[in-house]
Symmetry: C2
Subunit: 302 residues, 2 copies
């Protein structure tokens, strides 16, 4: 039985931290120390987000743009697969004693995906309006005001269709490795004339993780996040954790969930359950042990 | 039979180029188009250098250092494995139609390697003396004047001892993938208390490639570089290409070769041949077809 474990941002960086390598290693150590039996799963495929890290990569490129040509966005995603992947394999090996291998992962998206017509995912540094408008003109970026803190580039977040390295990941699992893949949702590529070309987009890591779990025939998808469970009325006095969600309940709940946050997690969990009949668990690292015993977290099942 | 193919800097960036992704893709396309039968080898493991790219990564980190904490050197190496790896798998797939997968590769070095006591490999941007001295004091770097163009950081280049991901690479070859690994000589790590910790060093990519070739039981190591063959009296009017080198001839030639350039290639080729009885070829992409036929390049054999 294969388990796909999707690590959220909290596993790598915490509020108030600058995001040094030492901080990320310590956070990963704490996360893995909480995962207990999950790390002993015979077939374990780890995925991870890259929000803060890809933002830092883009900021570094901006600051050096006069000296060094900026890389296309898809290579910034690739970069974070390696830097985060190196930290994950180090701590996973140290905590569990298991051999882990990180494979660079491309994910095919459709150039006709409606997301390309309406870029909506904010990424990279904040700019003043004038500079944002200049970058819009010079580089063809889409920019927009974000959360009252300035302007940001927005990019498409198309649906993942195919994990190019799926068979490579499966080969590593077959050989006994814990795989680390699909970092940051994968390097987005589009098929054209027999080529796979990098695309100026980012893919939601939970959606990519669900696609991976379906492709691997996994029995379980575990999505780790900052909160112990999905809650109805999250953030209000009436918030109530949901211990289980049927597929119908998940569908009904989706419109109430935050688009960039819990929404894709519940949607991805439901997709995995619907396509495979497996089970999905949404919880935090700290609550995982209780969640595996059915006493915490949110379990999505058919 | 397994072939290890080590791509030199010329495969990625050429003199006068800025190093954009588009330039690197075009260079890779031209290189792979020259390799003909080699790309059809059933078991093919590709490695590559990262000199200009890791320099650019370090420069980006410097320029953004006030906003974003610089990463340790080993993560800058990791970064280039992904950015270059993504370009290689894209072009290799497009040119050969084969499936390639890039695995993040760590390489164990000895913390007692004498190289750590005498850092000698220049890396990253040039600085004025005052700034170099400041970085030396603030970050514990070793710095020194380089080629009359300013001061640079120098780092240790220890001998590679063990490729951590060797079995993962072998699994990918077994499954029919072209592997891309050991980029930039690998992410240097030292063993300590059951952990593999990143080290502030870089590993010569030809030495790592020879170690990989030995570990994989390869029959052939092909080292691609900018010149068609090893030459005695290189750069002089008397320069004469060497078509073959025995191990004894290689040993005798080594002291005459450039330390950071042809030296490690001949040394690594000889090491591979000595340990395996296989053959090693040092040539350029353009001369490869002739070299495979014995009419160009330098063949090192026992």
């Amino acid at each position: 039985m294969t388990t796909v474990l999707a690590l959220g941002g909290n596993a790598l960086t915490r509020a108030g931290q600058r995001g040094t390598a030492a901080e990320q290693l310590a956070n990963l150590r704490a996360t893995f120390a909480s995962l207990g039996p999950l790390l002993a799963e015979k077939r374990l495929a780890v995925t991870h987000g890259n929000g803060p890290q890809v933002g830092q990569a883009l900021l570094r490129q901006e600051r050096a743009a006069e000296d060094v040509p900026p890389l296309p966005l898809y290579l910034a995603v690739a970069e974070t697969q390696a830097t985060i992947g190196a930290l994950i394999v180090a701590e996973l090996g140290a905590v569990s004693g298991r051999r882990a291998a990180c494979v660079l992962t491309r994910v095919v998206v459709d150039p006709e995906d409606p997301a390309f017509a309406e870029p909506a995912k904010p990424i990279g540094p904040f700019y003043g309006e004038a500079q944002a408008r200049r970058l819009e003109a010079e580089r063809g970026w889409a920019v927009r005001p974000d959360a009252g803190r300035g302007w940001r580039r927005v990019v498409p977040s198309p649906a993942p269709l195919e994990i190019v390295e799926l068979d490579a990941i499966r080969s590593l699992l077959d050989a006994g490795f814990v795989s680390v893949s699909c970092g940051g949702g994968g390097i987005p590529v589009v098929r054209r004339d027999g080529r796979l070309n990098g695309a100026g987009a980012v893919i939601d890591k939970d959606r990519a993780s669900a696609l991976l779990a379906v492709g691997l025939g996994a029995r379980r998808l575990v999505i780790l996040t900052d909160v112990p469970a999905v809650a109805r009325g999250f953030g209000s006095d009436e918030a109530r954790e949901l211990r289980t969600l049927t597929l119908d309940e998940a569908d009904a709940l989706l419109p109430q969930l935050a688009a960039g946050s819990m929404g894709p997690k519940v949607e991805s969990a439901a997709r995995f359950v619907r396509e495979t009949g497996g089970e999905a668990l949404i919880t935090s690292a700290g609550a995982l042990a209780e969640a595996l015993a059915g006493r915490a977290g949110t379990r999505v099942a058919g």
